[in-house]
Amino acid sequence: MRIIVCIKQVPDTAEVKINRETNTLIREGVPSIINPFDLHALEEGIRIREKHGGTVTALTMGPAQAGEALREAVALGADDAVLLSDRAFAGADTLATAYTLAKAAEKIGFDLILCGRQAIDGDTAQVGPGMAECLAIPHVTCIRRLAVTETEKFRVERMTDDGYETLEVKGPALFTVIREINTPRLPSLRGMLRAKKMAFEPWTAATINAEAERIGLSGSPTWVVKVFNPPLPDGQGEVWQGDSAENAAKLIAVLRERQFV
């Protein structure tokens, strides 16, 4: 089975801090990591390969430094990796990104594509379904379980807003995964040695035969016109110490006053 796992290198958004004086983000020193959801996707791909055979190819679109994320993916167990990197891809919104990744996937060839549910910087959760549409394959989002039932047939459990749903999907297909699906392994020594030796020749727009008006800025119907800071929590809340019973009663009184009770 040919498995592609889409990964993204993202800033660790939990480490991003705001400079209170200038009200801007402090980007220096924020580590770049593989998007946490993608680690689960990669783990799932490797498990499927271990059970059913095949190859796992990690795919990413980004600047040259995204190669580090690919190296990590190989250390974790991916067989090979593709770096999509071209100035022409810059400024891509989710539509253009989905198209670009889809063209690469077409070139690589696949039976299964796995993505993390969303990236922790964009938080859109749009690229997975968009890619599936470009490839004209079915997709299921937020899966917590994946099994291969016959060749080209998958059984997945999808999270819904009030529980779960089991679906049978005829491949090739794309799934986006949530954390619940597995516990990602640690890199192996063998994997790290393999990764060290790998060189990633960037795939450009020409490599994937991309139409110029569908990639990068030209291929992006959405456009950021303003970026600003959210109102910061002012920490003006009341904090009560002392007797728990008293404080509990006080809190209930406040909640009653505010009509929560």
Partner: protein, 395 residues
């Protein structure tokens, strides 16, 4: 590609340098210089007092802004009941429609749901596009995308809003890709540029560290998914009049490669976490899995839903579906009570827009207190037990 600085107009004030969230601008020889780190977010363009920075922009040949008309709302329903977020979309949609003098439409797919159309009209829809058929009985990405794409091509709405529910966030991107149009995820604010009939879509990014306002200038419909529980709900007015349209959409060629073989509704007694006005959440401070029942009891007494931090989900004290935070759910309840949760950034990302935050933690330095409106420093088990006792007496 990056923004470009018109050197002749740059006066070297350097206001742009700190405005860049990516650190891509520096001053060289008294003028601003933009590096390859530029993502063309446009923050610097806004800030420059000389208007010396410009975005590379051009109207594409296939721009079709002239043809859009009307604001649509996807009326998601489950088992015949309209999802609560839809009423919020109708309220927001009505305001936008009134501002630009256009109609508000609701798109309703299902089986035997014609009766729900009345509710949608009463809550603001001028028109309900009704597709009532067996194939729409349960939400399906393939059938819904095909049907709604056909509706959009036939009626050409200007703006199309979806709830950012699990289904909404699966349907909207697939549909946007099929229609080759722009989609903005998880909006928390919506406004409209009346002259250009352009939807101004504001949403959090970078884990909630920044807010971005986005437009879809040249493609239609302008699509957005809207975060539940942020916008107020529309009120039902039985006197409102509207039209129900049952379009004949030919759907013969939907290639069904997905079959639903089973469904489980979990936590049937506890309210849906993303719909709840009141949420009681537990963290490691609870001490043990057994103590989570205090969270459940308090939630039940307040008529709210239960939630959990990642730490206790990983321990198995609570299900993943109740996890709030960066790799769980982001919710916006009216009241969020954090019990024994330290308030790590990854957790705050999921709940800091709650209207009222209460924190109970034995550590007075816990970061949760920096976002809480009310905080109790104390043993969480004791405090919860006392709260439950007091509430029971009130009943």
């Amino acid at each position: 590609m990056s923004v470009s600085v018109r050197i002749d107009e740059c006066n070297g004030c350097a206001d742009c340098v700190p405005s860049c969230p990516y650190g891509a601008i520096s001053m060289e020889g008294g003028s601003a210089v933009v590096s390859a780190e530029c993502t063309m977010c446009g923050a610097c363009v806004e800030v420059c007092p000389q208007n010396a920075i410009e975005m590379p922009q051009s109207e594409p040949a296939d721009s079709d802004t002239a043809s859009g008309h009307g604001i649509w709302v996807f009326a998601e329903q489950r088992n015949g009941e309209i999802a609560s977020v839809v009423y919020e979309l109708l309220e927001a949609g009505r305001k936008l429609a009134d501002k630009i003098g256009e109609e508000l439409g609701a798109v309703l797919l299902g089986k035997g749901i014609a009766g729900a159309a009345d509710k949608l009209i009463g809550c603001g829809a001028d028109k309900v596009f009704l597709l009532d058929d067996t194939q729409f009985e349960y939400y399906r990405d393939d059938h819904f995308t095909a049907a709604i794409a056909a509706l959009v091509r036939a009626y050409r709405p200007n703006i199309f809003l979806f709830g950012a529910t699990t289904n909404g966030r699966s349907l909207a991107p697939r549909l946007a890709a099929r229609l080759q149009t722009g989609l903005t995820a998880d909006c928390t604010e919506l406004d409209i540029d009346v002259d250009r009939k352009l939807l101004l879509q504001t949403r959090p990014a970078l884990g909630g560290n920044i807010m971005a306002t986005i437009i879809c200038q040249y493609r239609r419909p302008q699509m957005a998914t809207v975060r539940p529980k942020v916008f107020p709900r529309a009120e039902y007015d039985p006197g409102r009049k509207g039209e129900v349209v049952a379009p004949e959409i030919a759907l013969t060629d939907v290639d069904t490669r997905v079959n639903i073989v089973g469904a489980v509704t979990e936590a049937s007694d506890a309210m849906r976490l993303d719909e709840a006005d009141i949420v009681v959440a537990g963290g490691r401070g609870l001490g043990s899995a057994e103590n989570y029942r205090l969270v459940e009891e308090l939630a039940a007494l307040l008529g709210g839903a239960t939630a959990a931090s990642r730490a206790i989900v990983d321990e198995g004290w609570a299900p993943y579906a109740s996890q709030v935070g960066q790799t769980g759910k982001t919710i916006t309840p009216k009241l969020y009570i954090a019990c024994g949760i330290s308030g790590a950034v990854q957790h705050l990302i999921g709940m800091r827009s709650a209207a009222t935050i209460v924190a109970i933690n034995k550590n007075p330095e816990a970061p949760i207190f920096s976002v809480a409106h009310y905080g109790i420093v104390g043993d969480v088990v004791e405090v919860l037990t006392e709260m439950i006792k007091t509430l029971k007496k009130l009943k």
